[in-house]
Symmetry: D4
Subunit: 161 residues, 8 copies
């Protein structure tokens, strides 16, 4: 039960790494691949086409600019593909967001917020939790922890007495 993370360039790694860290925290095995939809399309194809049989259950694909990678990945598999628009141009990531989310009918890409790699990992965990009461429990625990952190950080906010 693995999740694959794929990005077109090593320059996207600082944005995508939180996805890997989060999946690891959930105890989910991670495969990471750097391969470009346009520069190394064959590598993308062979990695994705065999993903299901390698035990991959969801694929996270991050890309900036004319961000075709998530859609191209989705065209090679019926596994759930989660797209992360990367803010890498002067348009603030709007180009990547539209290139990823506006997929045509038939080939969905589940799009996250611009630079929202951590949420991609949580969403992947939610998919995998279907058959796993253990992972489901971890997700519930994660929610509680977040709520507690909101509380704790609230102490940073004080106005008068």
């Amino acid at each position: 039960m693995k999740v694959a993370i794929i990005m077109g360039s090593d320059s996207d790694w600082p944005v995508l790494k939180p996805a890997a860290v989060t999946l690891d925290e959930f105890g989910i095995e991670v495969e990471v691949l750097v391969a470009s939809a346009h520069r190394t399309p064959d590598k993308v194809h062979s990695f994705v086409a065999s993903a299901r049989e390698r035990g991959v259950r969801a694929i996270i694909a991050g890309a900036g600019a004319a961000a075709h990678l998530p859609g191209v990945v989705a065209s090679f598999t019926t596994l759930p593909v989660i797209g992360v628009p990367v803010n890498s141009t002067s348009l603030g990531g709007l180009d990547a967001l539209l290139s990823i989310v506006q997929m045509p009918s038939g080939i969905p890409v589940a799009t996250m917020a611009i630079n929202g790699a951590k949420n991609a990992a949580i969403f992947a965990a939610q998919i995998l939790a279907a058959g796993s009461p253990e992972l489901e429990a971890k997700l519930d625990e994660h929610r509680r922890t977040m709520a507690e952190e909101v509380e704790k950080k609230a102490a940073n906010v004080s106005f008068k007495k």
Copy 2:
């Protein structure tokens, strides 16, 4: 093994209905609810909070304008939530898209294209296919059918001899 579809108003139904039709074609049971994040929040809460135990495995939530429903649904469950931005204002759905996709860290919503309800259903099917070779086969079949339809429709395009 069910998928729930939730929308804030009956006026969103023409956009969301293709999701229900598509799920039905895949043989997936569908629950449909009209309930508003702002006008009937309690109904949303009780429906979502008990969804997992009713056998729901993914929730599709559609909304337009300041489209809060998908995010509010996601805050009540760790089930995968799929958001469909509905084009219902003078801004062409850009308001709904940003309101759905730009979720804060911790609470992901898997966002589809503007008015992309059919893809929401296909994505839900991809999630459910994890434990179901039958559904996986149907998804593969769906891909083949799409490819054939592209071919057939190509006959509409002819230029000179």
Copy 3:
């Protein structure tokens, strides 16, 4: 006669604090709460639902990205809710602005400029001034002071003799 300020994260406090400072300058009691529409929805609900009986007369809610908090607050009360879009993503606050201002019919949120927390406080004071000649006088005084400041600062601008 109080005004509540609510934000989803302590990271919004630097933007929201001027609202607290301004209300304080007007002699209006301030309640500050950090609670998230998505991470601690129950806390938001209980704080807002009991606000009127605690003497709160208006609620200022600030949020960035898919800024649902002001709308969620508004769904729990008929007190006037004032929304402050926070510039916290690569889209310059346009996402937060649209998520706050494009509320559906029935649940208004009075939206201020991006990062316009001070104006939220002034607007809240204008609401409270209804039954308070004293506050009304302070608002008039505030206008005069602003006009004088424009004059004073104008001295910074000089071109030739």
Copy 4:
């Protein structure tokens, strides 16, 4: 206890009229004025400057394009001013929205959704409800009615048995 509605041109009336109708349904007296920030500024000034003493407690101002009217109205009074961006150009109301909401520090305009006149009226009623248990009750009743309508209209949505 009155609410004034002001617009720059009779062509804005179809968009603004729902505000008048809604205020009337809440039993709130309505003053309607057509006066332009640019073409009849004196009329705007005299109407607004004397509004408070005529018993006006909030002013709704609607405008399209370079929508200056709400801000100009706000500069003449410390009464709460509620702005309604009118969709009247090829930019879908985005021009009016930005012209109304991005007010500088010191002169707030409470901005509603594009064409959101009904919400402007509800928000005005929320302001006036401060000293009026009767109006507060009507607002609560309005919320209940909306919830019931969501329910009723839900019957229009049905999928299979």
Copy 5:
């Protein structure tokens, strides 16, 4: 010496057809293919990979929404690829424009105006004119004809005597 036109769906044909007509008027042979980057990627690949040896000298690719086709075509060949963003969603073609034009370094797509298929054909002719004095002459003639048409149509514009 041929130019290929490729589109993802027969629904793009009304927008792309002027490219075929214009190439034909220039006496350039045209190949037309309907094949989808996501639904029939193999067909796209085989068509493009063998294009040069079939005598194709430039490829026009049109697509709407998350318009990946031109970029995917460009990744399979070093022939010049000309992209035509098709206006097919509620965002007026801005999504297609950004998805086509913002290509990453290394894989250029020469982007035309939204729905600018005729210009794609003229640009292709300009590329082919390199080795063809005849085509160069036709392009010059085309410019003269355009200038004359501007003159002729100017007769439709008259004001007073």
Copy 6:
């Protein structure tokens, strides 16, 4: 004392004609030219370069899409050039607006609202009024007439008694 109106295509005439009508109403002589910055640049050049000596005192140039005409006109003369962005593409005139208004330092184009040809004429009249008390009086009269029209049309707006 004349004003020239120039447009790239007869298709812009319905948008530009109100400029001609308004100038005529002010008693200002009008020259109308259809000539394209890209298709008949020489004609633009000769018309503009000799405009001052023909008695032209200001030039109104309208264009849509990549609206280069006003800037090109401005590069050929030091007469005041007034640009009118024409809404002629799927982007609502935003493309034309930015292409006209964002002129580089040194070559200004005075930009009007999208489709704002009437205002271009009024602005031209304001320029010409410098040496003409008669035209100045007509502009004052025009303001009064506008104010009266706002009043008259206000009668179309009535709510209850």
Copy 7:
């Protein structure tokens, strides 16, 4: 023969100052005023209403955000008003641009590029040049100087021999 420059806050002066410098270089007398459309409207009114009789022939007004100042100035005079959108918010000046350029029919504001104060001065000089062969000659000279500067700076660009 003077040009007035008006801005709402001393913080706009760094953007507007190049207008003053440029006018001075053309030998045109400059009046500079800091006065706010919303905070000191009376001062704006009295300054503008008497401008013509003080010898002012054009008014440059700069503003950011909901940039109402140029339009408000234009409503008080039939002198030519030139608007300069100031980039002062997180939206890159798009808010100011739309607030200035999209003026309603009847009250034109000649809009320059975002932060385009120098062009505002040149355009004002072009207006004043009507009755002044001397100023006309200076504008011609300015064009020549610019052309020479392009040439000189071109020396900074060299690639290989």
Copy 8:
């Protein structure tokens, strides 16, 4: 067999220089010109009009803001013109992109990504490769090199093993 690079100002050179470097790496002769569509239009005209006879086979034109240069260049020649939008204003290059890409029917400009000068050079090489097996081979080699670089840089990305 040459490619010309033209820009309106030496300030664009840092963005355009990668085009010159890349062309040089492909062994293509480069001509570089600084000339402004608005400030030195005659120089642009004479350079472009004689380009074909000097052996130029494609022209790369870069510009920011109201980026008219590429379109103006295209109006003077039937050589292929490649436009590079330069990010030089507060709008992130969106103004330049729309000004370059939205060319009217008849005069195409092949538009690259914002600041995409390197791709402009590659595209020019693809055009020139038509009659040159040597250049075609270099382009194939360039693709292989890029693919290898993706691989090499992938080593920078590692997550646990």
